[in-house]
């Protein structure tokens, strides 16, 4: 009796069949996992490089979300500053008109006192505008912790420092303008000028000319800052658009890396399931018969 290379013992047939079935079943299990999670990558070893791209994109998307929040915060600050400064400029023009009116020498003291009272009222309105807050913080007070930038007497109580926001990768924008930049350095600020004007209207109209020039300079200063705020605001808006489109791009990229192609997975799953069933039935047929079945 000689052993030939083609002897196929029964145990070998069984072992090989079981191995083949296990391989086929493990492929089926992988595909089922992919179909139920709809993720192409569920662990780093599925695709190491893609895993890291996916992680980077996840982190990028989170960062992008945070930028979105920061941008809307920046928009709040700048929008409020824009409104406050626009109103301030309007009010100052009104003061200018009143000064022109008061310069008219035909006015008597009572009439001038009336104008002075109006100017005082505008002054306190502008102080109110200078104390505009956003989310509880006075926007012209820099990094001060108080609730106002100017106290009731028009005294600056802010701490002038930039307040910045991260709005895009590597981009930071200043969202505040400091009170002393807008309204002038303490001592020679707008509110002092307005007090002086009101005083001059009451008592000494001859000073009004000089004061009007001073007011004009300070109005220009406010307008300059208004323009700056406006340009920052429009920068925020354009970054916001970029932010939205960045977010979409990252989501698409992430999806193309991470998400399973549903149609493909379903087709593969079906094919593998058929293959597995075929393997099962072939094995059932192959391992059953031996010569014993045919001997009497």
């Amino acid at each position: 009796m000689s052993s030939s290379d083609f002897r196929i013992p029964n145990s070998m047939l069984t072992t090989n069949s079981v191995n083949a079935l296990q391989k086929s079943f493990s492929k089926l299990a992988d595909l089922q996992n992919e179909a139920s999670s709809l993720k192409r990558i569920t662990k780093p070893s599925d695709a190491p490089a893609d895993t890291v791209s996916a992680m980077q994109l996840h982190a990028g998307l989170d960062r992008n979300d945070q930028y979105t929040r920061n941008l809307s915060d920046a928009q709040g600050w700048l929008g409020n500053a824009d409104n406050a400064l626009t109103s301030t400029v309007t009010q100052l023009q009104q003061v200018n008109d009143l000064v022109v009116q008061a310069s008219n020498s035909s006015l008597d003291a009572n009439a001038r006192a009336g104008i002075a009272a109006q100017i005082d009222s505008i002054r306190s309105q502008i102080i109110g505008l200078a104390n505009t807050t956003y989310a509880g913080r006075p926007i012209f007070a820099g990094t001060a912790s108080g609730t106002v930038a100017y106290d009731a007497n028009g005294q600056y109580v802010g701490v002038s420092a930039p307040v910045d926001r991260n709005i895009a990768p590597g981009q930071r924008i200043q969202v505040n303008v400091n009170g002393d930049t807008v309204f002038g350095q303490p001592g020679s600020d707008l509110f002092t000028t307005l007090s002086q004007i009101s005083n001059a209207v009451r008592n000494d109209p001859s000073q009004l000319n000089t004061l009007q020039t001073q007011l004009g300079t300070q109005t220009t200063q406010v307008q300059g800052q208004l323009a700056l705020v406006g340009s920052q605001f429009s920068r925020v808006q354009s970054v916001q658009n970029q932010n939205t489109s960045d977010g979409l791009t990252m989501k698409q990229n992430l999806s193309s890396i991470e998400d399973a192609d549903v149609a493909e997975v379903m087709v593969n799953l079906q094919a593998q399931s058929v293959a597995y069933q075929a393997a099962l039935s072939a094995t059932a047929q192959a391992i059953t018969p031996s010569l014993t079945d045919f001997l009497k």
């Binding site: 052993s3 662990k43 190491p48 982190a59 990094t143 926001r165 014993t292």
Partner: protein
């Protein structure tokens, strides 16, 4: 030739066929027995005597048949190769399962892994920067920092646990290796005794070969044929089993890792393959490697955050270097969380040449007075027409905290204006402490103290968020914790993939070798059935022969001479 010799001849035939049927039956019975090698009877015809007696006559037509031996079908060289392949497969199986276990601990990519927690942590700084006075934003940041640190702790613990579990498994494996080696030596002894006595050893050899293969799988040992059908088991040149003597292994975990030592002389056993080799590799290389990678992510994070939040520094611009009119510049320092002591630096003109040296000497002297010499170093550079940079560095292992002297910020914000401070005015605090991933935690002064997060600088005003703004951007740093972590994950993915692939390749190699062994030694039912029929017919024919001779004798004895 005698009249009765035909009967004897028929008897030998009957016996030989009977024995052949028995062997076939044994093969069928053991068709599914692990380690069984099929057997076949070697029949030889009984011919002329090799040395004829002087007056013997031999007609040349033979004396029947006899069973010479029973052959066991087993290729001993293939066994040696099989031991190698099985050892290698067991080692790669272990490597692959170790990597897969490690990979599971990290849970990436997901919405709950460390990457996500890092992103949340950095984003928390933006929220603090957006509203530095808001305790809720700060508390949220601390919660996120705690979660992040806890994740590092827990993964590190899991990896350490995995290591100690593997050590326990290795211990069990070593016990089983020692016991298998003992059994193998006993089998060798029995085989030798029987072989010398000329007794059949087929069944003993089957048991021994099965055991040798299991031993190779467990220990990565190689096999070597020895005299009298014995098999030696070698571990990289040293005998685990030599003939009937077995050595044994001990597990030594005294050095932190695991080492196998020979019981007889306590020298180190070189085990590089088999399950034990795989386990040793996991314990001594793979798991510690990922633990140290995780540690380096944790320390990178710690240094990144502490570096940004914990420095003590400032600068004097060219116009403000003449502080002679300012009087004494005071601030408070505390060493290692102790009581604050006041540092007094008399204001002077530091704008000229030598100004930097003068300020440094004055500052160093004042600090030494406050916290003791050698605990902190003041450094002043620049000056003489360019800005003066001032910094104070605590000595290694020390922590220095700094704050404005109560009731006045003079000095502190002048000299050390860019020191990050919390809303409680204290600067120099560390955010994270700990030496590795297992011990990383939010530092004591910050934990539970939202005001202690240094979001702004001493000179930046109460609601300054500039430091937090810088930190929020650190997630995108190419050298930061995020990048180091992702590097580790890509390595983890590649390593796991490689281990799995190598394991699969080795599995198919081992499988085809097993098939070859099985082709040699396995029982084919079809073949045995055919043999049975063949021997049955042989038996039938021999019986017929017996009947024929019987009839012939009957004729001769009972019918001769009768008419």
């Amino acid at each position: 030739m005698s009249d009765f010799s035909g009967l004897r001849l028929a008897l030998t035939a009957l016996q030989a066929q009977q024995r052949s049927v028995d062997v076939a039956a044994q093969n069928v019975a053991n068709a599914n027995t692990p380690g069984y090698s099929r057997e076949a009877v070697n029949l030889v015809n009984i011919g002329a005597p090799a040395v004829p007696a002087r007056y013997a006559t031999f007609q040349g037509d033979g004396q029947g048949v006899k069973v010479d031996s029973v052959t066991r079908f087993r290729d001993s060289f293939m066994e040696i190769r099989a031991a190698l392949e099985h050892g290698s497969m067991a080692s790669l199986d272990q490597a692959s399962s170790t990597m897969n276990d490690i990979q599971q601990q990290f849970n990436e990519p997901s919405d709950s892994g460390i990457q996500q927690q890092l992103s949340d942590f950095w984003a928390g700084f933006d929220d603090v920067a957006n509203d530095p006075g808001d305790t809720a934003a700060r508390t949220q940041l601390l919660e996120r920092a705690d979660t992040l640190a806890a994740s590092f702790n827990s993964i590190s613990q899991s990896l350490t646990q995995q290591k100690s579990d593997t050590i326990s498994e290795l211990n069990a494996n070593v016990t089983s290796i020692n016991s298998m080696a003992q059994q193998l030596a006993q089998l060798n002894k029995a085989i030798k005794t029987n072989t010398v006595a000329g007794l059949p050893v087929n069944d003993l050899e089957d048991q021994r070969d099965l055991l040798a293969n299991q031993l190779a799988e467990a220990s990565g040992a190689t096999l070597r044929s020895d005299d009298f059908n014995q098999v030696d088991v070698m571990l990289n040149g040293t005998a685990l089993v030599q003939q009937d003597t077995a050595n044994s292994l001990n597990l030594d975990t005294s050095g932190g890792g695991a080492v196998l030592r020979w019981a007889n002389d306590n020298s180190q056993a070189s085990v590089t393959s088999g399950k034990a080799g795989g386990q040793l590799d996991a314990i001594n290389a793979t798991i510690p490697n990922y633990l140290s990678k995780l540690d380096s992510v944790a320390t990178t994070l710690r240094d990144q955050v502490n570096g940004a939040l914990g420095g003590i520094s400032g600068s004097l611009a060219v116009g403000s270097q003449d502080q002679s009119a300012a009087g004494n510049l005071n601030f408070d320092v505390s060493l290692d969380g102790g009581a604050f002591a006041t540092v007094t630096v008399p204001g002077a003109d530091w704008s000229g040449a030598g100004g930097a040296a003068a300020l440094q000497a004055s500052l160093q002297g004042a600090i030494d007075t406050a916290v003791g010499a050698g605990n902190a170093t003041a450094t002043v550079t620049g000056g003489n027409g360019s800005p003066l940079s001032v910094s104070i560095t605590p000595a290694a292992t020390h922590q220095l905290q700094v704050r404005a002297t109560t009731g006045s910020t003079t000095g502190f914000s002048t000299l050390l204006g860019s020191t990050p401070v919390g809303t409680d005015g204290v600067g120099g605090r560390q955010f994270f402490t700990g030496t590795d991933a297992a011990t990383l935690q939010v530092a004591a002064g910050v934990e539970g103290n939202p005001a202690g997060i240094a979001a702004g600088t001493a000179g930046g005003g109460p609601l300054d968020g500039s430091v937090a703004l810088d930190l929020a951007d650190m997630g995108s740093s190419q050298t930061g914790a995020d990048a180091v972590y992702r590097q580790m994950i890509v390595q983890l993915g590649v390593d796991t993939q490689t281990a799995t692939n190598r394991d699969q390749i080795q599995q198919s190699a081992t499988q085809s070798l097993d098939n070859a062994r099985s082709q040699e030694s396995g029982v084919s039912i079809d073949e045995e059935m055919t043999n049975l029929i063949q021997f049955q017919h042989g038996y039938d024919a021999a019986a017929r022969l017996m009947t024929t001779i019987d009839t012939m004798l009957d004729t001769l004895i009972n019918h001769t001479g009768l008419v």
